[in-house]
Structure formats: C-alpha cells, structure tokens
C-alpha cells in the first residue's frame, strides 16, 4: 500500500496496488472489534469519546443543579462538587474533544481525504484505540474507588491535589494520573500514524497545497499534540512520584492540622509551567481541527472556493508555532516573575493576528456565496460567531491588568467555555451532520437536526452570556455555594437559576441528537455517494460507505485543489479533485 517511490522526480508510482499488501480481516472480531481499518477505529474512537462525554455532560447538570438551586439538592456536598468540576473538565478537554477530533475525525478523514487506502501503520493504529479505551476505563474506575475521583480541579495543581482533605486524594488522584499517562501513550501511537500518513501516504498529485484545510488542521494539531503531551506526561509522572514515593518535586514544606508533612522544597509553580506548556497548545489541538473542518463546511455549503487558501494554511502553521510560547498567560496570578507576564501578554496578543485572519477569510468566503442553510452550515455559522465571542474575551484575559481581577471568576469560565467548549463542539456537530452520510450511507433527519441546532445554539448563549456578567460582578468559580456574600446581589442568584434551566434544556436537546444518530442509521434518507456535491476525495469513493481499502482497484489521481466550487464555465457547480482538466487548447 505504501509506495516508497512517491514523489521522486520523474517517477510516477503505479496506480494499482497488489492485493496482498492490504490487511484483510477474516472474522467478525477482526473486522469490527480488533480492526485495523482506520474507518472502524475512527468509529470506535468516536463512540467511546461520546460515551464518556455523556458522563461529563451529566456531571455538568449536577453542578448546575447545585449552583442554580443551592441547598435544594442535599446529595451534592462541597467535596462532591469539586469532584464534579474536576471530572467534567478533564473528560471534556482530553477524553472527549482531543480523542474525537484526532482519533475520530483524524482516523476517518485523513486516509480518505489524502487518497490513501488506510493509515500507514494499521496495527499501531489499532493499539492506539485499545490503549485509549484502557485510559477511559481507568478514569471511570476512579468513580468507584474509596474516596471517589479526584477533586483537585482539572488543572490538578499541587500541593492541594495530593494533600489529605482534597477529595479523592487516596486513589482518585492516582487513577487520574495513571489514566492520563496511558492516554498519552495511546495518543502518541495514533499521532505517529496521522503525521506519517499525511507526509507519506498521499495519492499522486496531492501536493500539500491541494490538501483540504481539514487535513491541514488535523495534521498541525497532531504535531502540536505530539510535542505538547509529553509535558503533561512529565508532570503526571513527577506528581505520581510525589504522591507514591515521597519525593518533593512539586511539594513545598507544608504543615497540615499542625502536623509537618514529609515534603519540603518542591515547587508548585514548576508543575504549573509543565501543565500549561501542554495546556495552551491543547487549546489549539482542539481548535485547529475545528478551524480546518469549518473551512471545508463553509466552502462546500456556500458553493464558493475558500477565500485566501494560502493565508489559511500559513495561519494554521503560524498559530501552531506561536502556541508554544504563550503558555504562561494562564499563570499571571501564580507568583511568577512579573516580567514574564509582559512577554506572554505580548505573544498572546500576537497569536490573535493569524486567528483573526482566519475569521475574516471565513466571512469573505461567505460573501456573495450561494449559501445553503443546511444543518452543517448552520453549525459552521454558529461556530464563527461563538469563536469570535470567545476570542474577544480572550483578548481581555490576555492582558495582565485585566486578568488579575477577573482570574478565578466565572468570567474565565464563560470565556473558555465559549472558545474551546461550545465553539469546537458546534464544529463536531456540524461535521457529524456533514460526514454522517458518508459513514452510514444515509442522511441524518433534518427536522430533528433543526431542533438540535437551534436549542443548542441559543441555549449555549443563554448559559454562557450571562456568566460573563456574573464574573464581572466578581462571583468566583469552583465555589459550591456563595452563601451570604454582600457583593453578590439577589438578581445574580436568579440569573444563576436561569443558567441552570438553560443548561438542562441544552442537555435535553442532545438526547434528540443521539436518537437521530441511531434512528437514521436505518431510517434516514438514502444519501448517495456525494449528497453535498463536494469536491474532496472522500466523496468520490466507489462505494458509500467506503469499502475496505477505500478505493477499489485504482487509487485516485488528484488534478486540482479542494475548492473548485462554482468555477465559471464549468458544467456543474463543483469539480471533484480527481477530475482531470478539460483538454487545453494547444
């Protein structure tokens, strides 16, 4: 399947691939369980990520019940509340979004979009999923151990993460750290595949500048993840040493309840540096695939080529590079050297430039486009607005003087939910509505899609817009109960109750979506091979859903870029990437 002569000047590799080179499943188990086919692995990744994400969704309902109606739900005590926020955050960021964008969409789309038969290392790819599943199971196990899961906050800051009196300090924190370590090992296996497949598995004629932006986004995000996750790995291993072996990497001399603990000399800020060296690129690990996917959705559903393709590519690469030198803007209040704050505020504002370029280009793509308000397009448009909102509050928080008073308030919660919670999830939904017909051969139900979209979109704003206001009032995050606080007026409590009702409503809308997913597998409208009349290679497969090996006997040959929509003089309003150019005048 892999032709080493690819790209050598003057050589054209054979289009036909000997049958023996493909891995062939022979039984149900090797076909659907221990499968080495990237498409099956993608679905396994996605279903697992969605399942664990639903748990995190339920956790957020419990939090909202407590915040909206304090004192009513006596079964949520302060410790449990801390466990809820910790597990909600960690699951959503890592086990849902990272796994879904890279493990799910990456696995499904990379081989199809670049015109490969499968990932380059299918066996390692399979291992990647099973190791991810193990990480999820270890994480879930922490709900059932004595003391419950850790309540250290999703950032797991020492010293409190491993001190007695933090919920889950006995076993919860250990399982959390072990689960993260396992996740990173599994991710690295998958990430190797995504990078090497893009570099090495592209079909003939698929130059880098002909790649759909989805592939650019996932590829760059994978490179970031491969280099950033080791920082989390190092932090987790060292904290595990502190917790289990009594070292003092992160633990300062500390006494608790009048008793001197065995630790001394360690640096909690060291952990923060390691955590955020991973944590900030993580924002872009989630955002870059979303950027890429949304570019393709907008172009396809507005029947217009993407505006400024080159600039979009450069912006993705530029954001990727810059994302490694902004991490300490999460640490303005950590007590680090104030001069660092100046440096990191500057880099943070610089990274807004390529990001803004992308937003302008999406809008200019829409301008005078033939906009079809399909469900994927609705989600894509909602993403642009939401990402812009979240990005603008990011400019506030990127400045030290504004961040210091707003730090640890609900303003921060509102900001990061808008920018890396709601915005990427909107893209996930848009992408599922867009590619579901390719994966199953049937369309998702339109009416249910409309309900899902409008409730989710308006509901998300009902949740997070007022939260900015609560944050400006100074309402702190991570508090189980505000109690009698003079600066929080009664109206703020009413607003909190409103937010909770909105959150439960949005949650209910997701049930409609889930039902649609399963219902449409059998009852959806037949989609055909290319229902959106799109140009990219995955829509040109001989079978829908694509068969094993993706392409039948011959690999596709690419003749043009991914955005030939509404080309003047062309027969149809789209020209697939693998369509040869019309005969040129001599």
């Amino acid at each position: 399947m892999v032709d080493t002569a690819f790209g050598a000047p003057g050589t054209i590799p054979p289009a036909e691939v000997a049958d023996v080179e493909l891995y062939h499943p022979h039984s149900f188990v090797t076909k659907y369980v221990f499968s080495q086919d990237a498409k099956v692995i993608a679905i396994q990744y996605s279903l697992t990520a969605v399942a664990i994400g639903l748990i995190a969704l339920v956790l957020s309902w419990l939090m909202r019940l407590q915040l909206g109606f304090p004192g009513t739900f006596s079964f949520i005590d302060p410790n449990q509340y801390l466990q809820l926020i910790t597990m909600h955050g960690m699951i959503m960021v890592i086990y849902l979004l990272t796994a879904l964008f890279l493990g799910g969409f990456g696995n499904y789309l990379i081989p199809l979009m670049v015109g490969a038969r499968d990932m380059v290392f299918p066996y390692v790819n399979m291992l990647s999923y099973w190791i991810y599943l193990l990480a999820v199971l270890v994480l879930v196990a922490s709900f059932f151990v004595p003391g419950g899961p850790t309540g250290a906050g999703w950032t797991l800051y020492p010293p409190q993460a491993i001190l007695p009196n933090t919920p889950g300090h006995e076993y919860g924190i250990i399982l959390m750290l072990v689960s993260l370590i396992i996740f990173i090992i599994g991710f690295t296996m998958g990430g190797l595949n995504y990078v090497v497949t893009v570099l090495q598995g592209r079909a003939r004629g698929m130059t880098l500048m002909r790649l759909p932006l989805t592939v650019w986004g996932i590829f760059t995000a994978t490179v970031l993840a491969l280099l950033a996750f080791p920082a989390l790995f190092v932090g987790c291993v060292m904290m595990l040493f502190d917790r289990l072996l009594g070292t003092s990497f992160f633990m300062p001399a500390i006494s608790q309840l009048g008793e001197q603990l065995k630790y001394g000399g360690g640096s909690p800020i060291l952990f923060q540096h390691l955590f955020w060296f991973f944590g900030h690129p993580e924002v872009y690990i989630v955002a870059l695939p979303a950027f890429g996917i949304v570019s393709d959705l907008i172009s396809t559903h507005a029947r217009k080529n993407i505006f400024g393709y080159r600039m979009m590519v450069w912006a993705i690469v530029g954001i990727g590079a810059l994302s490694f030198i902004v991490w300490a803007h999460h640490m303005y209040v950590s007590g680090m050297n104030p001069y660092f704050g100046f440096f990191f505020a500057t880099t943070t504002l610089i990274i807004a430039v390529p990001t803004a370029i992308k937003v302008y280009n999406w809008i200019l793509t829409l301008w005078r486009g033939d906009i079809h308000l399909t469900i994927p397009m609705l989600f894509a448009l909602a993403f642009i607005v939401t990402f812009l909102n979240g990005g603008l509050t990011g400019l506030f928080l990127g400045n030290v003087v504004v961040d210091v008073p707003l730090s640890d308030t609900l303003f921060v919660v509102a900001h990061f939910h808008m920018v890396m919670g709601v915005a990427p999830i909107l893209v996930v939904f848009g992408a599922i509505y867009h590619w579901y017909p390719k994966i199953t051969g049937r369309m998702l139900n339109e009416a249910m899609g409309q309900i899902h979209f409008w409730v989710t979109f308006i509901g998300a704003y009902a949740i997070f817009f007022p939260m900015h206001y609560l944050g400006l009032l100074g309402m702190p995050r991570r508090y189980h109960d505000m109690g009698q606080t003079s600066f929080v007026p009664d109206s703020a409590h009413t607003l909190n109750a409103f937010i909770s009702v909105a959150a439960l409503t949005v949650g209910a809308a997701q049930v409609v979506f889930l039902f649609n997913l399963f219902w449409s597998v059998r009852h959806g409208k037949e989609a055909g091979g290319n229902p959106w009349r799109a140009t990219t290679l995955e829509w040109q497969t001989p079978q829908t859903p694509p068969g094993h090996g993706n392409w039948g006997d011959e690999l596709p040959v690419v003749h043009r870029w991914a955005y030939d929509y509404s080309v003047p003089g062309a027969e149809r309003d789209f020209i697939p990437q693998n369509e040869p150019p019309a005969a040129r005048p001599a």
Partner: protein
C-alpha cells in the same frame, strides 16, 4: 523551560525548512493538471518506518528535554544537594556503547547479507542492553545503600526517575527487536530485514545519546 523551547525551535526549524520546499507560496487554484508538472511536492520518498521512527524520536526527545527543563528549574531552589556518583555508571555507559555498536554492526551485516553476523549482532545488542538495565539497577542499589533513596532529595528523585524512564525506553527497544528476528525466522527478503534492523540501530544510537546527556547532567550537578 529553556531547554525544551530550544528543542522545539530546532524541530520547528526542520519543519519550516521542509515546508519551504513544498511550494507553500504557489496558487493552487490556478494549477490544475497532471502529476509531474509540480516537481518535488508529492508524498515524501522516505520509507514509512524511518519517518515514523523520526517522529517518535522527536517525541521522546521532547519528553527528555522537558524532564531536563524540570530538572534545571528544580535545581534553582535552595534545597538541592548533589548526589554521589557511582563509579559503576561509567561501566554501564561502556555497556550501552557496546550495545549500540553491536546493533550498528548487525545493520552493516544485514546490508551485506551475512545472516550469521546479523544474528550475532542482534544477540549481543539485546544482551548488552539487558545487561545495561541490570547494571543500572545495581547502581540504584549502591545509592540506596549509601542512604540516597528516591525520597532523599530532589537530586535523588530525579536520578531514579530519569534512569527509569530511559531504561523503559530501552526495554521497549529490546521488545521491538522481536520484529527483525521474526523476519529472519520466516526468511523474509534481505532488504526487509535490513530496513527493520536499521530502525532498531538508529533507535539505539538515539537512546545512547540521551543517556550520555543524562549522565553528563548527573556528573555536572
């Protein structure tokens, strides 16, 4: 975090150099047409295995650069006291050099198609790698006997941590030797075995460099 930033800047340099050869300034919307008209921008000619190993090496290098960054930052806090340096570590270093050399020799033998020399090289390489790990354990025992356990101080903690992480990567390499050995057993074509052995040898050389850096840091601090 200076060390890891330097490493990532270096990697970014490689990436940008490679991207600069990929016609990122071209206007793809104007360029339709057959393959061959845009030279040098197809999929890379490197074999997948080598490319994959290269990416893996970059990830592991980032991992150790981050450990060393943490090491340097932790050192700056007042309670650092140096560790005694067991003489044994020099012997261990020699054994690891031997292991790396044996695999290099195996790679050469595979290139010449000498099966026996190849088998011998792999055997010596694997045995000396395992020997290295055992000797590292002896060095641990020596330090523990001197009263420098894992919780004795930050230098001790880092020593056990870094040697353990390095040894685990080496053991992973030994496990990966099963691949070329399996290929030899089923009489795979010489080129296939050679490619496999070459990957192992490159990985060994990389881990040798990592160990030498770790050892130097240990000796100097």
């Amino acid at each position: 975090m200076g060390i890891v930033i330097l490493l990532i800047a270096g990697l970014a340099g490689i990436v940008f150099w490679w991207l600069s050869t990929q016609r990122l300034g071209s206007k793809p919307w104007l360029e339709q047409g057959a393959i061959g008209e845009f030279p040098g921008t197809g999929a890379t000619a490197l074999p997948a295995g080598k490319l994959g190993l290269g990416v893996l090496v970059a990830v592991i290098a980032a991992l150790f650069a981050l450990f060393l960054s943490a090491y340097v930052m932790r050192m700056q806090i007042g309670d650092w006291s140096p560790l005694p340096k067991p003489r044994l570590l020099w012997v261990n270093t020699g054994v690891l050099v031997l292991s790396s050399a044996a695999l290099h020799w195996a790679m050469r033998a595979a290139g010449r198609g000498e099966r026996d020399a190849l088998a011998g090289g792999l055997l010596v390489g694997a045995a000396s790698a395992l020997g290295f790990v055992l000797l590292q354990l002896l060095a641990w025992r020596e330090l523990v006997a001197l009263g420098y356990g894992v919780a004795s101080g930050p230098a001790g903690g880092f020593f056990y941590l870094l040697t353990a992480v390095h040894a685990i990567h080496l053991l992973g390499g030994v496990a990966a030797l099963a691949l070329p050995i399996a290929k030899m057993r089923r009489d795979a074509p010489a080129g296939e075995i050679g490619a496999s052995v070459e990957l192992c040898a490159l990985y060994w050389h990389f881990l040798l460099i990592v160990w030498i850096v770790l050892f130097a840091v240990l000796l100097l601090t």
